[in-house]
């Protein structure tokens, strides 16, 4: 390991980059060793860690999942009962989804109550709100994928809520549904939104979130 690192470091001068990422000093008010209540500053990092776990488990779950009404439920049953560690990974992904939403909300509360959203960090708050919406969209689209009764009816209700948007509601709902009835197209587009569109959006907004965080640093203590 050390020699491989040395080889790369000699050629690419990695040490300053790595130091910038890993040796970043944490101010006392956000340091758990110095301030007892500082754990609230961990919520964002924990949310990010859970999102990474979701991405990893999600990519692997796609090995067996099939987004068609004929196969979806059978493929999820197959994952749970006939693959090694499938029940573990599927459970991790399901519980992780709730955990991600919870941690993002806690992170949002921390930012709110420490006043961290104020000047000069307003833009990062705005990006954070988009990240919250993206995480919720992940939850909404992912909930349909097992294609069981709960999934089907939860999505029916969710899309009927969308239909209540003034003026364009009906159009919006059928655009999301892929027609006027839930079916093949609904499942497929929810799957594609879940595994392609949202991850791309998430990556872009997370990059912006972290870039601004590093430029501006952690907000001052109260």
């Amino acid at each position: 390991m050390g020699r491989i690192y040395q080889f790369l470091d000699e050629r690419l001068n990695l040490t300053p980059l790595l130091r910038d990422i890993t040796d970043h000093p944490v101010p006392d008010h956000a340091n758990v060793l110095k301030t007892r209540s500082a754990f609230i500053y961990c919520f964002g990092g924990i949310a990010f860690f859970i999102i990474l776990l979701q991405a990893l488990s999600g990519v692997f779950l796609m090995l067996y999942y099939s987004p068609t009404p004929e196969d979806a439920h059978a493929s999820v049953t197959y994952i749970q009962n006939e693959t090694a560690f499938g029940a573990l990974l599927q459970g991790l992904h399901r519980v992780g989804a709730s955990a991600a939403v919870i941690m993002v909300l806690l992170h949002m509360l921390r930012v709110f109550f420490t006043g961290s959203y104020k000047n000069p960090r307003e833009l990062n708050w705005v990006v954070g709100v988009f990240l919250l919406l993206i995480v919720l969209a992940f939850g909404f689209t992912g909930y349909l994928l097992p294609w069981d009764q709960k999934a089907y009816w939860a999505t029916t209700v969710g899309l009927n809520m969308v239909a209540n948007v003034p003026l364009i509601g009906d159009f919006l709902a059928s655009a999301l549904r892929g027609g006027n009835e839930m079916g093949t197209l609904t499942l497929l587009r929810f799957f594609v939104i879940h595994v392609m569109f949202l991850p791309a959006l998430l990556a872009i907004f997370l990059a912006a979130h972290f870039f601004m965080l590093r430029r501006q640093g952690i907000s001052r203590p109260l």
Binding site: L56, F60, L63, Y64, A74, Y78, T83, F85, G86
Partner: protein
């Protein structure tokens, strides 16, 4: 370690770096083993094989392999797939029956029986096998696969290899 630090804080720094590395390794293994196991689990599964009835033994000609198309139900992921197969069944001089898979042992093309030359011929790369399935010429590395076979009440059963 070129950061200006007190002497005693260096071991502590080392300790934390090693601790973080150990934790990362633990997480890596804790995730890596399930993920790898999940990925390779179909390869660890053994297919279950049953006897498949393919022909009536009284209809076979002595010494002349008969081409028999049959299909069997195979577990295909979460589905069951009706899988077509072809075998050549021959009643040998000894009175015993033998069944050969039609798949050439070179690259898996379907072989044909040439009744004039009494040979199996592969259309793809010129592999030739004799009536016992042994390689006569061409690229095949080994004889045609013999399927397990049993005869019960004049019915011929084979089992997929």
């Amino acid at each position: 370690m070129d950061l200006p630090e007190e002497n005693q804080s260096l071991p502590r720094r080392r300790f934390f770096i090693n601790g973080i590395k150990a934790l990362a390794a633990l997480f890596g293994l804790g995730l890596g083993i399930p993920l790898a196991g999940f990925f390779i689990s179909p390869a660890l599964k053994k297919d279950k094989h049953d006897w498949i009835e393919i022909a009536d033994s009284s209809l076979l000609k002595d010494g002349e392999p008969s081409r028999i198309n049959y299909s069997y139900a195979r577990k295909d992921g979460w589905k069951t797939a009706q899988t077509p197969r072809t075998a050549f069944v021959v009643k040998q001089a000894s009175g015993e029956f033998a069944a050969f898979s039609n798949r050439c042992t070179h690259l898996g093309c379907g072989v044909n029986w040439d009744s004039a030359l009494k040979q199996f011929k592969c259309p793809c790369h010129g592999g030739v096998f004799d009536a016992q399935g042994r390689v006569v010429e061409g690229p095949p590395p080994k004889a045609l696969t013999r399927l397990a076979l049993k005869v019960e009440a004049n019915k011929i059963f084979v089992m997929e290899a």
